[in-house]
Amino acid sequence: MSVVTKPVTMPAPSFEAGTEDNYLTHTTGFLSWALTLDHKRIGLMYLAGVMASFAGGGVLALLIRLHLWNPNIDKTQALFSNQVYNQIFTLHGAIMVFLFIIPSIPAALGNFLLPIMLGTKDVAFPRLNLGSFYLWICGAAFFLFSLFATGLDTGWTFYTPYSIESRGPVVAATMGVFVLGFSSIFTGLNFIVTINTMRPPGMTWFRMPLFLWATYATAIIQVLATPVLGITVLLLAAERVLGIGIFDPKLNGDPVTFQHFFWFYSHPAVYIMILPAMGIISELMSVHSHKGIFGYRMIAYSSVAIALFGFLVWGHHMFTSGMADVTTIVFSALTFTVSIPSAIKVFNWIGTMYQGTVSLNTPMLYALAFIFLFTIGGLTGLFLGALSVDLHLHDTYFVVAHFHYVMMGGTLVAFLGGLFHWWPKMTGKMFNDFAGIVSAAIVFVGFNLTFLPQFVLGTRGMPRRYASYVEEFQDLHRLSTIGAMMLGAGLLVAGLTLLHSLFYGKKAPMNPWGGATLEWECQTPPPHDNFSTPPTVGDPYDFSNIEYDPKTGGYFKKK
C-alpha cells in the first residue's frame, strides 16, 4: 500500500498554513507502515487486506456459479468434483464472513474515520489497534493454509459432528477464526473506549455522526458476542485434538448444543456486518442530499435496538433442528422485533431525500442501490421469520438469496459507497465519477440478476450447498450464473476506477461532497495528528452554512 503521493497542499480556511505533510508522507519506508500506530495507516492496511480477501472470496464465488452452470448429475460435465466444490463454497463463506465482511467497514473504514470524526488524534489504544491488524493477518494466514492444505470442507458454520470427522484442516481453520475473533474484539473494545472517553468537548451523544452510533453499536456486539465464538471454536478444536466429546454424539455429546453456541455469536455477527453499513448509508444519504438526516434520534436508537435484539434471535437458524416448540415460537417472535428498527431506518433514509438537493454521484447511487437491495433483503427475512414458511424455505436457495441481499447487496454495496465517498479523503485523489456510476449500474443489475432467480430456486425446493441438482432447476441457475459474471465485471470496473484515480486522479479538495462532519474539516489527506488544533464541534448534519467553491471544486464552511 505504499502509494507514492505527493504532498497535497490545499489551503483551507480553518487551517493554519504550513502543515504540508500528511499521514501518507509523514514517514517513509516499509517499517514506518508495518509498525505504525497511526489509525489511518492501519485502516489503509486493513483496507488492502480486506480487498484482497474479497477478491479471493469473489473468485471462489464465480467458480461456484460456473460449476452450477450444468446440473452435474452427469459428473463428466462437472467443472469440479464434489469434494472440490464443497471446499470452494466452504472457503467462499469463511473468507467472506471472517476475513472480509466483519472487518470491512469497522476495521478498514472505521479505523480510518472514527478518530477523525471524533476530532481526536488516534484511537484510545493505538498499539492494540496494530495488534488487531496483525491478529487479522495471522487469521488470514490460517485460512490461506486451509486453502492450500488438504481442503476444508465443513461449510463456514463448522457444524458438528461433520466437522469432527471431516478430513480437512478444521483445527487450523478454527484457530484462524479464534484469532480473527480476538482481532474483532480488540477493534470493538478500542472503538467503545475511544467514543466513550475521548469525545471532544461539545460532542454530546446526540451530536455524534450516525456512522459513529452505528460503529458503537457494532462494537458492543463485537465485544459481547465474539468471545462466545472464541470458546466455541476452541472447544471444537479440543474436540478434534482431544476428543472431549461435548459436541460429539458418539461420546454422549449434543450436536445441537454446538449450533446454539455457534449462532449465539454468528447471529449477532450478522449485525456486526450490517450495522456499520447502515451507518454509512445514513452519512451518504444526508451528505449527498445536502440535507440533515431525517429522524436522527430514531436512527440512532434503532442502531442500538438492533444491536440488543440481535442477541436474542439466534435460534431462528435452528427452526428445523428439533428445539422445543415454545423455544422455537419465542425465537420467531423475537426475530420479528428486529424487522421494525430496520424498517424505520429505510423510511428515514427516504425521508432524508425529501426536499433535499440530491447529487446523483457514485457514492449516492451506491447508497440508493443499497436501499433497494437491503429492502428486498429485509422483506424476504419476513418469510424466514414466519415459522411455518421457514420450514419449507430453511436451507434452500431462498436463504442463500436472502442473506446475499443483506450481506452483499447491503454491506458490500454500502462498503463500496463509503469507499467512494471517503476515497478522496483517504488518498487525496478524485476518482472518475462517470466510471463510478457505470460500476454502480452494472453491480446493481448484475446483483439482481444473480440473486432474484435464487429466491425462486429456493421456493421451488433447491437445497443449498448442492454440487449437483435436478435438471428442472437449470434455467434459473444459468440466469444466476450470468448475473454473477456481470456482477464480477461491475466490481472490477469499480476497483479499476479506484486504482485509476490513484495514478491519474485529480487532487481532491478538502470537502468534495459538502459534508458537515469533522472529517471534512480535516486536511486532505489528513495530517499525521489529524487536527493541529481541536476542531469546533457543531451539528454534524447542519448544512446551512456549507457553500460550494468552484475554484477548488469542493465545499467550505462559511464563517
Partner: protein, 365 residues
C-alpha cells in the same frame, strides 16, 4: 472526567501541546483521560473474558443437568484439599496484588516489587499444585473424552513421569532466572537484580507448590480416608474386594465395544453395585458412569475449564513480569499507575473465576 486535573499537565492539552510527559501517550489530553480509557478498556476486556468462560459454564450446566450422577461421582476424584489450598493461595495473591496497586500509587517501589513478586510466587504455587493434580489424574488414566481409559471402581495408578515432564519448563526457567540474577550481580546492576530476584523466587515457588501437592496427595493415599472418596482412597480400598470383580469380562467390554455403541452395550451388561466405593445415595451403577461419554465427558469439562483458567494464570504471570520490569525502572507514580491497576483487575477476575470453579468441580457432594 477531567475534574481532578489540578496539575502541571493541564497546560498540555492546549495549543502548545506535545510537551507530554513520557508516561502520557500523545493522543491523550491528560492523565485522567488516559487512566479512564485504560480502565474502561480493561473492564470491557474482563467482560469478554467472563463471556468466554460463560461458554464453558454453559456446557457444564448442560451436561451436569443431563447426567448429575456422573458429576457427583467423578467429583470425588478431585482432591478437594489441593483445591482448597489453591483457593487460599489465589485469595492471598489477590491481597498482595491489591497491595501492589496501593504501593504503586505511593511510589513505594520496593514494596511494589515485593508485592508483585509475591503475586507471581502465589501464581507459581498454584500452577505447581495444579501440575500435581493433573499428573496424578493422567496417571490414573483419567483423560478427557475419547482418551478416557480408567476403571473408576479400582483405578490403577501408573507413574508415567507426567509430573517430571510438566516440571521441565519451570526447571529451565529457574536456571535461566538464576543465571540472569548472577549476571545482575556480576555487572553490579541493581536493576537486573531487582527484576531477577522475584523471578527466581517465583520459579522456586512452583517447586514449592509441587512439593506441597505431592505431600498432600500421598497423605490422602496413606490415610485411605473413607470420608473423602478420592481416587487413591478407592485404590487402597480396592484390594479388599478385588475378588468381587470380574476383571476380565469388564475389560473385554470396555475394550471391544466401539464408542458409538458403548452406551448400549454397557447398559445391558447389568453391572454389580460396589458398596464399598459407591455411596448409598448414588444409584447409578459405576460401570454406567465409567465410560468415555460419561466420566470422560466430565473430565473433558474439568480439563477445559481448569486448563483455560491455568492459561489465564500463565498470561497473568507474563504481565506481572512486565510490571516488575517497569517497576524496577521506577516508572509508576501517583499519576501513572494504570498498568498496575489494570493488571490487578485482571488478576482479581482470574481469582474470581477460580472461586466459581472450585465449588462447581471439587465440592459437588
Amino acid at each position: 472526567m477531567t475534574t481532578t486535573v489540578a496539575h502541571d499537565t493541564s497546560a498540555n492539552h492546549q495549543v502548545e501541546g506535545h510537551e507530554h510527559p513520557s508516561w502520557l501517550a500523545h493522543h491523550f489530553d491528560d492523565e485522567q483521560q488516559q487512566f479512564d480509557a485504560g480502565k474502561m478498556g480493561m473492564w470491557l476486556f474482563l467482560v469478554t473474558e467472563v463471556l468466554f468462560f460463560s461458554g464453558m459454564f454453559c456446557a457444564y450446566a448442560l451436561y451436569r443437568n443431563r447426567n448429575p450422577e456422573v458429576f457427583e461421582f467423578c467429583s470425588r476424584f478431585l482432591n478437594e484439599k489441593l483445591g482448597a489450598i489453591n483457593t487460599g493461595v489465589l485469595l492471598f495473591s489477590s491481597l498482595t496484588m491489591a497491595w501492589a496497586v496501593r504501593s504503586s500509587q505511593l511510589r513505594e517501589t520496593k514494596t511494589l516489587i515485593g508485592m508483585l513478586g509475591a503475586t507471581l510466587g502465589c501464581a507459581a504455587i498454584f500452577l505447581g499444585v495444579k501440575a500435581v493434580e493433573y499428573s496424578h489424574k493422567w496417571g490414573l488414566g483419567l483423560f478427557p473424552g475419547k482418551f478416557f481409559q480408567s476403571q473408576l471402581e479400582h483405578p490403577v495408578h501408573t507413574d508415567n513421569n507426567y509430573l517430571w515432564n510438566l516440571s521441565i519448563v519451570p526447571m529451565i526457567l529457574l536456571v535461566c532466572f538464576a543465571l540472569y540474577y548472577a549476571y545482575g550481580v556480576i555487572i553490579a546492576s541493581k536493576f537486573h537484580q531487582r527484576v531477577a530476584g522475584p523471578l527466581v523466587i517465583a520459579a522456586l515457588c512452583f517447586f514449592g507448590g509441587v512439593g506441597l501437592g505431592t505431600f498432600l496427595e500421598s497423605e490422602e493415599h496413606e490415610e485411605g480416608s473413607p470420608v473423602t472418596h478420592n481416587a487413591t482412597g478407592e485404590h487402597a480400598a480396592h484390594a479388599d474386594h478385588d475378588h468381587e470383580h470380574d476383571h476380565a469380562q469388564e475389560h473385554a467390554v470396555a475394550e471391544s465395544v466401539k464408542p458409538a455403541i458403548n452406551f448400549v452395550a454397557v447398559d445391558s451388561t447389568g453391572m454389580h453395585d460396589d458398596v464399598a466405593v459407591t455411596p448409598a445415595e448414588l444409584v447409578t451403577p459405576v460401570s454406567a458412569v465409567n465410560q468415555k461419554g460419561m466420566a470422560g465427558l466430565f473430565f473433558s469439562i474439568y480439563y477445559c475449564m481448569t486448563g483455560v483458567h491455568a492459561v489465564h494464570i500463565l498470561g497473568g504471570m507474563a504481565v506481572l513480569t512486565w510490571l516488575i520490569v517497569k517497576a524496577a525502572r521506577f516508572e509508576f507514580h501517583s499519576k501513572y499507575f494504570g498498568p498496575v491497576d489494570n493488571v490487578g483487575l485482571y488478576w482479581h477476575l482470574v481469582d474470581f473465576i477460580w472461586i466459581f470453579l472450585f465449588p462447581l468441580l471439587y465440592l459437588i457432594t
